[in-house]
Amino acid sequence: MKEPSRRSVDSAAQQMIARAAEDQVDLVWDRYEAMQPQCGFGQLGICCRICHMGPCRVDPFGDGPQEGVCGADANAIAARNLVRMIAAGAAAHSDHGRDVALALLEAARNPDSGYKIRDPQKLAVIAQEYGLDTEGKSVPEIAEAVAQQALAEFGQQEGELKFALRAPASRVKVWRERGLMPRGIDREIVELMHQTAMGVDADYRNIIKQGMRAALADGWGGSMIATDLQDVLFGSPQPIRAKTNLGVLKEDHVNIVVHGHEPVLSEMIVEAARDSELLARARELGADGINLAGQCCTGNELLMRKGIPSAGTFLHQELAIMTGAVDAMVVDVQCVMPRLAELTQRFHTQLLTTSRKAKIPHVQHLEFREGQALTTAKEIVSVGVENFANRNGQRVQIPAEQMDLIAGFTAEYVNTLLGGRFRPSYRPLNDAIMTGRIRGVAGVVGCENPQVPQGSGHIAMSKELIKNDVLVVVTGCSALADARAGLLCPEAALEWAGEGLKEVCEAIGMPPVLHVGSCVDNSRILIACTNMVTEGGLGEDISDLPVAGAAPEWMSEKAITIGYYVVASGIYTVFGTPHNVLGAPDLHKLVVDELEEMVGARFDFEPDPIKAAHMMIAHMDKKRAALGLDEMMYEQAAPVATS
C-alpha cells in the first residue's frame, strides 16, 4: 500500500506522497494503515457509547450478546449511531448557513463590514418567496429582512421550512403524509439528538424517519440558505475558467492557501490579497505577487465565483504543505486535519485557524469576526506575506500538474446556459432526456477517503456515466477530482462522452461534467431536479426523474446527511463503502430496500465505481421506461437491459 499510485490516481499527489516517504513524514494514508485493523463493531454500526452503562456491542455472529445493557438491539443501536451522524452533518452545513445569514445581516446593517450585496436580483426573488414587502425598500433593507427571515427558520418551532416548499407539490405531499416535513432547522437536529438519547427511541424505523427529517432540514433548509445567501452576498456563479491541482502554487509568489468550507472569510481574503500595500510588501520581500489558492470547499466557493485556482481536495491538504511553497495556510471549519499542526512545523508554513469553533493546540489563532472582515483578512494575508521571507527555496518542490476547468454552473444558470438571455429554459435538457440523447442525470458528490485510491472512484464513475450519455453534475471534492482528470473541460465531451451527450454538449458548448459548487451546494442539485419536474415531460415528482446520486469516496458525516436528504427527496443513491449498518439486518434492509416504499428512493452500496455507475444507469433506464420515454438515440456502451 506504500506505493503512491495505490494512494492516489493523481500524479501530483503521487510525487508529494513519494517525497513524504523520503522525508519520513507521516501522511493520512500512513495513519490509516497504522490504524488497521479498524474496529469491526464500529464498522458494522453495532457499538453503542450513548450511556455510561456501556460501551456495549452486539455480537454480529450471534454467539455473544444480541442487545446492549439497556436492551437496545443491533437495529436500534446502528440506527441511533447513523442518525447521530446525520445530526452532526446537518449541524455542520446548517451552522454554515447560519453564519452566512449572519454575514448578510452584517452586510445589511454595517456599511463598513466590507461585504456587499452582489446579487440583488436573487435577493429580490428570495424576499418574494418569504412574502416580504419590498415596495420602496432599499437593497440593504431587503437584505436585513431576508437575513432575519432566514435566521428565523433555524429557531422556528412549528410550521414548515419555506424553501422546502420549493420542491414539487407531489414531493411536498409525500413529506407531509410521512411526517418528514421539516419544521425548523435547529429543532429537527435537537429532536434527533433527544430521540436517540439513552432510553428514548428504540424503533429503528422511527429513528430513521426523524433522521430523514433532520437531513431534509439541512438540504432544503440550512444548506440551501447557505447556498442562496452566499449567492446574494458574493454573487451567483456563472461559467468561469480556472485551474486546479498543486501546480497552481507559484514558486515566485507568496502562496496563501485557504482551506475549509466557508466563503465568508475567504472572499475577504481575495480582496485583501489585492491590497496595494500588501502587494508592495510582498515585492519588497522578493515575491512577484500574492498567489491565493483554495482547497476543499472553501476552494470551491472561490473557484465557482472568482475563478481562484484550487490547490486540491481534502487529501491534498497535507500534500500542499509538502511542496514547501505554502507561506500560509488559513483554515476555517470542517475537513481540516489536526495533523496539519505538526506537519507545518516541518516546513516554514504558517498555519492559521480563524473560527472560534475550530482551533488546534499550538496553532496561531486569528479569529475572524464578520464586523471587521476586511481588517482580519488583511492581517491574515500579512502573516503569509511576512512568512515568505522564511521560505527555504531549496525545499520548494511544486509538481507541474495543473488542469484547466470550467466551473460556475448553478440551477438558475442552466436556464441561461440552454437559452441565453431571451430563451431561458430547462426545455432543451428535458427534451434531450426525453428524446434519448441524454440517458439521465447523475450527481456524483462527496469526499475523499484513504480507504480508496484518491480520485479513483469519482473519475472512473464519471467517465463511465458520460460514456453512457449520462450528464454528470459534481460538487465538493468529487468535482475537483474530476477536474484534475480533465473532465470539467468542454473538450472532455468530444473525448469521453457518448454520442448523444456529446451532441448536446457540442450544441451548448459545455463540459459533460458540470461543477455546481461546494458540498453545501448539493442543494443546487435539488433545485435543478425540481426545475426539471416543473419544465414538464419527466413526471410529477423528483422520484419520477431518470436521475441518481452517488458518493463513491465518502467519509464525512455530512456525506451521510446529504445522502439522506437526497434519498428523502426521491433520488436513488449509491454510496461506495457501506454506511455503518451491516451489523443490523433489518436496518440494512430498510436502507437499501424499504425506503423506496416510504420516499420513492433508496440506497445501494457498491465500492466498484463501474458497477455502481451501471446500477445508477439501470435505475435511470427503469425510470425512463416508467415514463415511456423514447429509446436511446445512439448505441449505448452499457446496453439498456431488456426485461
Partner: protein
C-alpha cells in the same frame, strides 16, 4: 461543430451593431436626437424592439437607447480551447442582430433608401390582419424565409413550387454572390416581370421579395413578431410571452441557400430565438438537440429534392397537399394568382359572356357521385384570347345536407377554382368570371377539370354533410339559357330567406374559436344578424361548420334567458364566453360597443370607434391607410383592439355588420355612424340605402362623412352640423 456557428453569430452581431453605431452617429449629426423615425403602416414602432425591450422608438434618440441596450447582448467569440458555454452567446447575438438589423432598416427608411426598387421592404400591420383568417383556417400553414439564392434557376423554381404546393408563404431575402432568388424566379417565369414595379403583388401568389440583402430578414421577423402582439394579446416588453408565442403559433422557418456568412448565421440565431429553425443546403454544422425550437434548430439538407419536406418536418408545419387528378398543381398558394389577358387562353363571364354557377340539393338517388358531364364545345375549340359562355352546375346530396347550406357550398367554387395553378376566378353566382391560362391549357386543362377540382374540394372539405356531388359543365348556349332562370330564382329565394332570419328567430347562435390558436382568450359569438368580425363566417357558415365537424371550432350556443334585449345579453351566452375565454371575459353584449362589447382576435375587417365630439362612431376598414378623425390610422387604432381584451368604445367588426338591423342597436344604431372611408361606403352603398329607408332616414347615407368631407375631428363636427347629421341630436354618448 456548433462552436463555429456561435463564433460566426457573435461576429455577425458585432458587425451589425457597429454598423448601426456608425450610421446612427451620422444621422444624429445630420438630423439631431428628435428626428422622427419609424416604419410605414405600423402601430408597433420598431416592432422587434417594442416586443423584446418594450421600447417605443419614435426618434433617433430612441434608437440610441435601443442600441445601448442591444450592446449588452453582445458576447465574445468562443475560444479555440477551453471555451465557455456558447449556445447562450449565440442566441443572445441573434437577438442583438435582429435589433441591429431593425435599427439599420429604420435608418435606411429615414434616408429614403427603403424599400428598394423591386423589393417589398417593411410589411404593414394591415397585411397581417388581412391574412389572419387564412392563418387560422389552415390555408396558410406556414412561412418560409429564403435567404440567398438557389444554385440555378431550375432548382429555384423547384423549391418554390414545392413550397407553393404546400401553400407556404415565402419571403425572398438576400443573395448568394450577388444572385437573388427573386431574379431566378423571374427568369423561371414564376414571378411576373411586373413584380419589380409592384412587389406587393407577390402576396397573391405567396411569394414576396423583401430585400436583396440579408438584413431584410428583419422585415419577415418583425412582422412575425407582430403576430404575438396582434393576435396573442401580448404587451410590449413581454419578451418571454412574445417569443413563446412565435414558437408555439407561427410556423415559420428559414432556408439558407448558398454560402452562409457571419451575418446569415447571426440572423439565423435570431430566428432560432423565435422558434424558427434554419435549414441550409451547404455543409454547415448542425444544431440538432431540441428545446430552443420545438424540434431541431439548425439542419443541413444537401438534397434540394428533399429540402422543403425537411423544412416542414423540422418546423412541424401541418400541411395537407391536395392530390387532385388534374393537369396542374392545386394549392391555396395559387389562390391569389391572376391570369392576365396576354397569358389567357380563354375566359368566361365578366362582361364578355354569360357565366354562372349554381349548386342545388337533390335526393340521394338523383346524384351520381363524382360524375362530370361536359355539354357543349370544349376549350380547345376556342380561339386564343376569346370568351365562351359557361355554367357550372352542381348537384349535391347528403344525409346531413340542408337547403340552407346551398349558398355556402356554392361559394366554395371561388376558392377551389382559384387553387388550381393557371385558373383565375372572381365573383359568384351569375357574376362569375373565369380565365384559363395558356400554360394551363397547354398542360391539358379542359372543361371537365373544373368539375374534378370542385368535386374533390367539396368532398374533402364538406364530406361530413355531402355524400354525393355531380358536376355539369356547360358551354352550350341553349342549355345555359334553360338553367339560368332556375338559378336566378334560387338566388332570390336564398336572399329572401337570409333577410327574414333574425336573432330573435333562432334559439341558437354559433361560436367561433378558430382564432384561439392565435388569440387564446378570444371567442366570437355569431348570430344571424351579426357576422364574425373577420367577415368570413356568418351564422350559416357556423351552422354548417358544426355539422361538418361537431367538435370543431364552431359550436352551437344556446342563448338561454335574455338578460337585456337592448344590448343583446343572454345568460347562457355569458356562461359560454366566460368558460371559453378562460375567465378573462365575464359578460358580453352583441349590440353594444359601450357595455361589455365583444372581444377581437385581431383579424377584424373594420374598427368601430367612439368620437365623443361628434356624439357618434366612426368606422374604418383595414384597407384604408389614411388618417381618421380619431387622429389615428387604422394600424395604430388596431393596437388598442384585439388580443381578446374588452375595450368599451372600440370594437372590431366585419364589414357587413354595418348594414345589419342590429348594428350597435343598443347605442343608437346606424344613425350614430358619422364617418367611414369612401371605399367602404361605396361597397356597402346598397345595404346602407336599404337600412336608411327602413329607418325613414333616406338622407342618412349621404350625411355620413368620408375622408373627402373631413379627416380631422373639428372639420368633421362642422361638416356634420352642416349636413344635419342625426347623431348630433341624439342622447349624449357620455
Amino acid at each position: 461543430m456548433s462552436k463555429l456557428v456561435a463564433a460566426a453569430a457573435v461576429r455577425g452581431s458585432h458587425d451589425v451593431v457597429s454598423r448601426v453605431d456608425k450610421r446612427l452617429t451620422q444621422a444624429l449629426e445630420k438630423f439631431g436626437e428628435d428626428q422622427e423615425v419609424g416604419f410605414p403602416g405600423t402601430a408597433f414602432y420598431l416592432p422587434m424592439a417594442y416586443a423584446l425591450l418594450g421600447a417605443e422608438v419614435e426618434t433617433l434618440g430612441g434608437i440610441r437607447e435601443v442600441l445601448e441596450e442591444t450592446k449588452t447582448f453582445l458576447h465574445e467569440e468562443p475560444t479555440e480551447k477551453l471555451w465557455l458555454p456558447y449556445l447562450s452567446s449565440a442566441l443572445d447575438s441573434g437577438i442583438a442582430t435582429l435589433l441591429g438589423e431593425e435599427m439599420l432598416a429604420a435608418l435606411r427608411y429615414l434616408y429614403g433608401e427603403e424599400p428598394r426598387e423591386g423589393w417589398h421592404g417593411f410589411i404593414s400591420d394591415t397585411i397581417l390582419r388581412s391574412l389572419g383568417i387564412q392563418l387560422v383556417d389552415g390555408r396558410l400553414p406556414g412561412f418560409a424565409a429564403i435567404v440567398g439564392a438557389a444554385p440555378d434557376v431550375e432548382t429555384a423554381e423547384y423549391i418554390i413550387r414545392e413550397l407553393q404546393k404546400r401553400s407556404i408563404l415565402t419571403f425572398l431575402i438576400g443573395n448568394h454572390e450577388g444572385q437573388t432568388m427573386r431574379d431566378q424566379l423571374i427568369e423561371a417565369n414564376v414571378l411576373p416581370d411586373d413584380i419589380i414595379e409592384n412587389p406587393a403583388s407577390g402576396w397573391d401568389i405567396y411569394i414576396v421579395p423583401l430585400g436583396p440583402d440579408t438584413e431584410s430578414i428583419i422585415y419577415a421577423l418583425n412582422w412575425a413578431m407582430r403576430g404575438a402582439l396582434t393576435f396573442g394579446g401580448l404587451v410590449k416588453g413581454d419578451w418571454k410571452g412574445c417569443l413563446d408565442y412565435t414558437r408555439a403559433h407561427i410556423f415559420a422557418f428559414g432556408l439558407g441557400l448558398g454560402t452562409i456568412d457571419d451575418l446569415k448565421y447571426a440572423s439565423g440565431a435570431g430566428a432560432i430565438n423565435m422558434g424558427f429553425p434554419v435549414i441550409c443546403d451547404t455543409e454547415i454544422p448542425e444544431i440538432r438537440p431540441t428545446g430552443v425550437c420545438t424540434y431541431e434548430e439548425l439542419v443541413r439538407e444537401l438534397d434540394h429534392d428533399k429540402m422543403v419536406q425537411t423544412c416542414v418536418d423540422v418546423r412541424g408545419v401541418k400541411v395537407t397537399v391536395r392530390e387532385v387528378d388534374v393537369p396542374v398543381p392545386v394549392a391555396a398558394a395559387f389562390e391569389g394568382e391572376t391570369v392576365r389577358r396576354p397569358d389567357m387562353h380563354v375566359e368566361f363571364g365578366g362582361k364578355y359572356s354569360t357565366c354562372f354557377e349554381y349548386l342545388t340539393m337533390r335526393d340521394m338517388d338523383e346524384v351520381t357521385d363524382g360524375k362530370v358531364e361536359v355539354i357543349g364545345p370544349d376549350i380547345d375549340t376556342a380561339e386564343v384570347g376569346s370568351a365562351m359562355p359557361l355554367a357550372i352546375y352542381l348537384e349535391v346530396a347528403g344525409r346531413k345536407m340542408q337547403k340552407d347550406f346551398e349558398g355556402l357550398l356554392e361559394r366554395r367554387i371561388h376558392s377551389t377554382a382559384n387553387y388550381a395553378h393557371g385558373i383565375f376566378h372572381m365573383g359568384q353566382r351569375d357574376m362569375a368570371w373565369l380565365r384559363v391560362s395558356k400554360d394551363a391549357f397547354a398542360a391539358g386543362w379542359r372543361l371537365r377539370h373544373f368539375g374534378d377540382v370542385i368535386i374533390a374540394e367539396l368532398k374533402e372539405e364538406m364530406g361530413a354533410i355531402i355524400d354525393k356531388v355531380q358536376a355539369t359543365v356547360i358551354t352550350d348556349e341553349d342549355r345555359i339559357n334553360e338553367i339560368l332562370p332556375q338559378a336566378e330564382a334560387a338566388y332570390r329565394e336564398r336572399d329572401e330567406r337570409m333577410g327574414e332570419m333574425t336573432d330573435e328567430s333562432v334559439d341558437i347562435f354559433y361560436s367561433c374559436a378558430l382564432c384561439q390558436s392565435y388569440a387564446p382568450d378570444h371567442i366570437c359569438v355569431i348570430s344571424p344578424e351579426r357576422l364574425g368580425l373577420c367577415g368570413a363566417y356568418n351564422w350559416l357558415d357556423g351552422k354548417a361548420a358544426y355539422e361538418i365537424s361537431p367538435h370543431g371550432a364552431n359550436q352551437p350556443v344556446e342563448k338561454g334567458r335574455c338578460i337585456d334585449a337592448t344590448i343583446g345579453e343572454w345568460e347562457k351566452i355569458n356562461e359560454f364566453v366566460r368558460r371559453e375565454s378562460h375567465g378573462t371575459v365575464d359578460r358580453v353584449s352583441l349590440y353594444s360597443i359601450m357595455d361589455a362589447p365583444m372581444t377581437s382576435c385581431g383579424c377584424f375587417e373594420c374598427i368601430l370607434a367612439m368620437l365623443p365630439e361628434a356624439n357618434g362612431f366612426m368606422i374604418v376598414n383595414r384597407e384604408y391607410t389614411g388618417m381618421t378623425p380619431l387622429g389615428m390610422e387604422f394600424s395604430t387604432l388596431a393596437g388598442t383592439v384585439g388580443g381578446g381584451h374588452q375595450t368599451p368604445g372600440f370594437l372590431g367588426v366585419g364589414r357587413r355588420y354595418v348594414i345589419s338591423r342590429k348594428f350597435i342597436s343598443a347605442d343608437g344604431g346606424l344613425p350614430r355612424l358619422v364617418w367611414m372611408p369612401k371605399e367602404l361606403k361605396e361597397d356597402l352603398a346598397e345595404g346602407l340605402q336599404e337600412q336608411a329607408a327602413e329607418l325613414s332616414m333616406p338622407e342618412l347615407p349621404d350625411q355620413i362623412a368620408t375622408e373627402e368631407d373631413a379627416e380631422a375631428i373639428n372639420d368633421l363636427v362642422e361638416h356634420l352640423q352642416k349636413v344635419g347629421h342625426p347623431a348630433l341630436q341624439m342622447e349624449s354618448l357620455l
